[in-house]
């Protein structure tokens, strides 16, 4: 591991314009999907990004790959600012940073068989050394993700969900990338299959020396796989810490609420744990609350300062960053939380769909982050 992080994101913003108008589209506002995020991912490590739908985590992942255009900020990948690249250099850069998608079926062209799916990126980048070389490489890839070579002539719809995700992973690692961004890699899979894919990701990381940015809403999954975890709320990072530290001592009120809400498959734990219910829903990213963005739902909100002054990320322990004015007081128990009902009563909770006034923006944000339904 070198001192330089492989990926460094600085002040990244992605704003989607909200267009309105009958004849000429007028921009009437912006959805601040990602609103000023800094993070760094060390070589060979895994950075986990958690948050609920609409928090901008998927948009962030896509902006790093330039699948959506950043509005401002830099994405330094191995010393190059990806945000400034375009055309052919960008295409060549993409070889080194790959993505695994949430929906394994949707991300594979239904008309391609597995051989064509896996060899296409190699052709596109002139890798693999000719027809025979590529055929050999494709076989090795299949083997690496635990699929038999009988799979070559088959089409995506003929596989189970877990197998499709294996194909997606094989395709992503075909180009021997340095960075793999996995956007909800297991949330569309059956429970018994999720572990197979998680184990595969870990095994590949070890074997190929990959660096991961894993984006997920499932805190248990993120904790399992990550070295460092970042928690996003409404477009910005509210807390970041080494995985163990974060789960042992979450400092931000949102992180605490999030962790207390995750169901644990153990009745004894379920009956005895602290439960922090949040009031209301996520406010619209088109019109985020003033001051601390979490203050409308925060059980620890303190008058005026939380409403007026936006907190910045500050370091409270080694590598433990948190953006809350009262993190120390909350940690030491000086401040006590209020119930969701009290918060709701004082804040007049928003229960509107995010961005109702701007249905387009709603679709945009929710479309990017919405969890896939499981059947």
């Amino acid at each position: 591991m070198t001192a330089d992080p492989l990926l460094r994101v600085e002040g990244l913003q992605v704003h989607f314009p909200i267009k309105r108008g009958v004849f000429v589209d007028r921009t009437v506002g912006h959805v601040r999907a990602v609103d000023g995020v800094d993070l760094a991912v060390d070589r060979g490590s895994t950075y986990g990004l958690v948050g609920e739908s609409g928090c901008g985590k998927s948009t962030l992942g896509r902006a790093v790959l330039r699948l959506v255009e950043p509005t401002a900020g830099q994405v330094w990948f191995d010393g190059t600012d990806v945000a400034s690249l375009s055309g052919e250099p960008l295409r060549r850069m993409r070889r080194r940073m790959q993505m695994v998608f949430q929906d394994p079926l949707g991300s594979l062209d239904p008309r391609q068989d597995v051989e064509s799916l896996l060899s296409e990126p190699l052709h596109a980048h002139g890798l693999g050394g000719g027809r025979a070389g590529i055929a050999e490489r494709v076989r090795t890839l299949l083997d690496a993700v635990g699929l038999p070579s009988a799979a070559l002539r088959r089409y995506p719809h003929e596989f189970s969900g877990g197998q499709r995700q294996r194909i997606g992973i094989a395709r992503a690692v075909a180009l021997e990338p340095d960075l793999l961004i996995a956007d909800e890699p297991v949330s569309a899979l059956d429970v018994s299959v999720q572990a197979q894919v998680l184990n595969l990701l870990e095994e590949l990381q070890e074997r190929l020396g990959l660096t991961y940015l894993v984006i997920a809403h499932d805190l248990a999954v993120v904790r399992h796989i990550s070295d460092v975890v970042g928690v996003m709320y409404l477009g910005s990072l509210v807390e970041q810490a080494p995985a163990d530290v974060l789960y042992e001592q979450p400092l931000h009120p949102y992180t605490r609420a999030l962790m207390s809400a995750v169901p644990v498959p153990d009745p004894v734990v379920e009956e005895n744990r602290e439960r922090i219910l949040l009031a209301g829903d996520l406010p619209s990213p088109a019109n985020p609350p003033s001051g601390c963005r979490f203050h409308t739902r925060c059980p620890w909100r303190q008058e005026t300062r939380c409403d007026d002054e936006a907190p910045v990320l500050r370091e409270l322990g080694t590598g433990h960053l948190v953006s809350c004015h009262w993190a120390e007081e909350i940690r030491d128990g000086v401040l006590t939380p209020r119930s969701a009902e009290e918060v709701a009563a004082t804040m007049g909770v928003s229960i509107r769909a995010t961005g109702v006034e701007n249905p387009e923006s709603d679709a945009l944000v929710q479309g990017l982050d919405a969890p896939i339904e499981r059947r």
């Binding site: 699948l67 949707g106 991300s107 296409e120 990126p121 596109a124 980048h125 003929e158």
Partner: protein, 313 residues
């Protein structure tokens, strides 16, 4: 362990080894092939295909199949005001008011009707798809310009369009084909554009972009092939409407003036004065139009079902 025990043990191990593997044997069924399989199993599709095929064969071999010369005027001696002879020996469906064999005219007429239908639809599909690809692949201002053009085309009534084109090109079968094709163009352009825009936003298109695959290859290699299903369905259905429209325009006298080429719509128009005397003169060509249109419609609807992603498994 006994030999039998070994066999049993192996059976369980074999099952275990198979878990998570892809099944042997059949497989590798592409979407096109599985759609075709579903089509073949659908009796409605078979019926539609048989109807269409019969008409196509008749049209292709019309000169050989027609029992008589469709232009030769025989039986003239028997025709008098208020009477046109019905089926007689050698004239299974009777003759028309000029003593021409009705069956032969229907058989030969299928050529013209199907030809106009097929040519105009193909023309409409090709031009429509070209515009659709242009709009769908480039988006932005190209899309805006193309779509406004399409809107203009859509706002002109097809009859007016046909008359105008006939005036411009002279009244012949080509004018008819072009007139019908022009009315088809917007349908296909919009369909393909919409379908391509939807596919462009799909995960696999995004995945291809992330893999660093070139833009042209994404559009023409991935997006376009996956956008074609609704176009194929619509083209089949449009064949039916094109044939009906061709007949309708001929009926209104905008058809091919060349009397040497009988056509169902024109036959229908000619039969009008004799409806009370011999309604068969109108009924038979009308029946032909209805049945062939039905054939294409059945085929189109079953194609829609077969290509429906909901049935992919």
């Amino acid at each position: 362990m006994t030999a039998i025990g070994d066999v049993r043990r192996r059976r369980i191990d074999e099952l275990a080894a198979r878990a998570g593997q892809v099944p042997e044997g059949e497989g590798g069924v592409s979407l096109t092939r599985s759609a075709f399989r579903r089509l073949r199993r659908n009796p409605v599709a078979i019926l539609g295909a048989v109807i269409v095929l019969v008409f196509l064969v008749v049209a292709a071999f019309a000169p050989l199949l027609a029992p008589r010369d469709p232009l030769a005027q025989t039986l003239l001696s028997e025709i008098r005001p208020g009477f046109i002879p019905g089926a007689t020996a050698g004239f299974p469906l009777g003759a028309d008011e000029l003593g021409r064999d009705l069956l032969s005219r229907l058989v030969v007429g299928s050529r013209q009707s199907l030809l106009i239908g097929v040519v105009s639809t193909v023309l409409g599909v090709v031009v429509g798809m070209a515009l659709g690809v242009l709009a769908g692949a480039f988006g932005g201002w190209v899309d805006t310009v193309v779509m406004r053009f399409i809107d203009i085309l859509l706002s002109i009534p097809s009859l007016l369009m046909a008359i105008t084109i006939s005036v411009l090109l002279g009244q012949n079968q080509y004018a008819l084909m072009i007139a019908i094709a022009v009315t088809q163009v917007p349908v296909f352009a919009r369909l393909l554009r919409g379908s391509m825009l939807a596919q462009r936003g799909s995960d696999y298109a995004l995945a291809a972009q992330a893999l660093g695959i070139k833009r042209g290859r994404i559009v023409f290699g991935h997006v376009l092939p996956n956008s074609l299903s609704p176009v194929i369905v619509q083209a089949t259905l449009s064949l039916a409407t094109a044939i009906i429209e061709a007949a309708a325009l001929s009926f209104l006298g905008l058809g091919d003036p060349d009397l040497a080429r009988p056509e169902w719509g024109a036959m229908l128009a000619n039969a009008q004065p004799f409806l009370s005397v011999r309604p068969e003169l109108a009924i038979y060509p009308a029946l032909c139009i209805i049945v062939v249109a039905l054939g294409f419609t059945l085929l189109g609807e079953s194609l829609r079902e077969a290509l429906d992603p909901k049935f992919r498994r």
